[in-house]
Symmetry: C2
Subunit: 348 residues, 2 copies
């Protein structure tokens, strides 16, 4: 807990001491590259071909090297291009974590401590085809409980809820503080909308971390991870098939952030091709936000809100009447504050 000696010495003027006195650390960069292909929300992963287990992979990532790249973002783009061939559009920082490795955690140990800066990078469907090193997977392969496109997912009612309920419950107060149980109950209520609370699609990370603690997802714990989790909680089937290690946390944060920002910024259009029909736009929003929430009002909101403008062209072969094609009206950026796809849940 004590600071290194040289800091204490030079403490009085209270200014930060020169940075070169500090302990050197490796800084990592990693990217959750998200896209929507068809009606499926996808993420780009780099397969771990060396490994046997099918399904293993990692987000594109690499170390930040100030000698090579002036900015964090430049470094990120470099590694993404190198590992996946994808040229990123806009990116945004999601969070910065300590010790955020991929699925290889155990082997890499953490002797060289790492700080990872995590990015969200939406790309268009055209970018979303397997190429070079990249493989695209559905988000919902990693987080099936987040998929509300066809109503409440079954894995929630059938597996997660009962197990979490039990994991929380006061039945296990043995040597545990009641405060702990209370915290769990509260966290469960907030994250998984128990007792009349509303499901908040943005709380992706909170849900993932709860499931991780409860042992319902994550790496099989061959070496008991401290014994804090009772044996019985190891019984339920693991839900999260493909493995991402700590990168799953990053993906969860990125999805949460995307869901958040879709509502108040025009990010969806970074996921759309240049021209699109309103139906396609709606499907994309639904793929991201989960619940299939709206109806024809969606069209009115989007068009009336000045977010898009018709190109004059039409798309045929839509399965019905030909649809007008639209493009994003980038002028909204100049006109309106918070031009997102504001939406309240409806009943289809």
């Amino acid at each position: 807990m004590d600071p290194p000696a040289h800091y204490v010495e030079s403490m009085l003027p209270a200014r930060v001491p020169p940075a070169r006195a500090a302990e050197p650390i490796s800084v990592g960069l990693n990217a959750a590259i998200l896209a929507v292909r068809g009606d499926e929300p996808m993420v780009a992963v780099v397969p771990a071909s060396r490994r046997e287990r099918e399904g293993d992979g990692a987000l594109p990532c690499g170390p930040f090297s100030p000698r090579q790249h002036k900015t964090l973002e430049a470094g990120l783009r470099f590694w993404v291009r190198q590992q996946t061939g994808i040229e990123l559009g806009h990116t945004r920082q999601v969070c910065t974590l300590v010790d955020c490795h991929g699925p290889d955690d155990r082997e890499m140990a953490s002797d060289p401590p790492v700080v990872s800066v995590c990015y969200l990078a939406p790309v268009r469907p055209a970018q979303c085809n397997d190429q070079d090193g990249a493989v695209w997977r559905s988000w919902y392969a990693y987080f099936p409980w987040e998929d509300w496109r066809r109503g409440k997912p079954r894995c929630l009612t059938e597996i997660i809820e009962p197990h979490l309920e039990a994991w929380t419950g006061p039945a296990h107060c043995e040597a545990r503080v009641p405060r702990e149980a209370l915290n769990r109950t509260q966290r469960l209520r907030i994250a998984f909308a128990r007792d009349a609370a509303a499901w908040d699609e943005e709380k992706v990370l909170e849900r993932y971390e709860l499931l991780l603690e409860a042992g319902l997802v994550g790496e099989p714990a061959e070496n008991g991870d401290g014994g804090h989790v009772l044996a019985e909680w190891r019984q339920p089937p693991r839900l999260c098939h493909p493995l991402l290690g700590d990168h799953a946390r990053v993906l969860a944060s990125a999805i949460g952030e995307l869901r958040r920002s879709v509502k108040c910024e025009p990010v969806i259009f970074e996921l759309m091709p240049d021209v699109f029909t309103l139906f396609e736009l709606q499907k994309t929003v639904e793929a991201i936000l989960g619940p299939h929430l709206h109806k024809q009002n969606f069209r009115r909101l989007v068009e009336g809100g000045g977010l898009v403008e018709p190109t004059g062209e039409h798309r045929f072969r839509t399965g019905g009447r030909p649809a007008r094609l639209y493009r994003f009206r980038s002028d909204v950026l100049l006109e309106r504050l918070a031009p997102g796809v504001r939406i309240k849940a409806g009943r289809g």
Copy 2:
């Protein structure tokens, strides 16, 4: 632009190479500690007592040392406690930057490259008194153009707008691409609400960076900074009196983030004492969001929204009739999504 050799070699499996191969970097932490005292929004700065110039200072900051602290946040709390004596409540990451020093930029050079993780930390008014090493200053001392509490600030109309308008204008096309000018015009429109665009109180950082580029704020440039700014743009009086160096950018981001989150999360209550009157709450919101926007409807929204509950007590000596005291109803966290102080501008 080429990656270090060992990366190219181990490229094919496309997995991230072990982190210890990476270049070691110093990781810094710094905190924009924000509070509202009376009607004034304040930030904690650490004065640079060594220096002559009155007004110099820096945000509390220090290097992250994984040997000392397991998490970034623990390190942050340590340095803040050390330098200011303040015990932080909740904190949130705002951004991570490369080379973010305080006002000492020039001397520290950047030979040991630094990545800084920047935090926003709201604290209650009780914490907001000068103690130990901390000094509290109004935000608006640094960013007077952000202060819309008494209507549009004069420095905007009288100084900033004319100079920026000129700085943008096509008058200076000499050896400059028109695209550059267009970008400037657009950025000006967005950031400073030119031509019918609405003032967006959240774009604090965009405004600061524009002013910085235009030479209206920032350190006096004794050593021409590359000659990209014409001499005439050096004439306008500097607006930003106290100096923070790169930390000003951090402060701007933090203010923007706070303004953003006040509207959709119950962060204001982290800035309030345990009990308060609705008027005090309103004043606090106004101190942050700038425009004095609402009216008695504010009370209805806040109370009706279930954000607060009366304690039963009253406060006398309010300047008028005694006011009911309220406390934050922390249950909203369980009930509602996005429980912020949603507000639209009004006319007083």
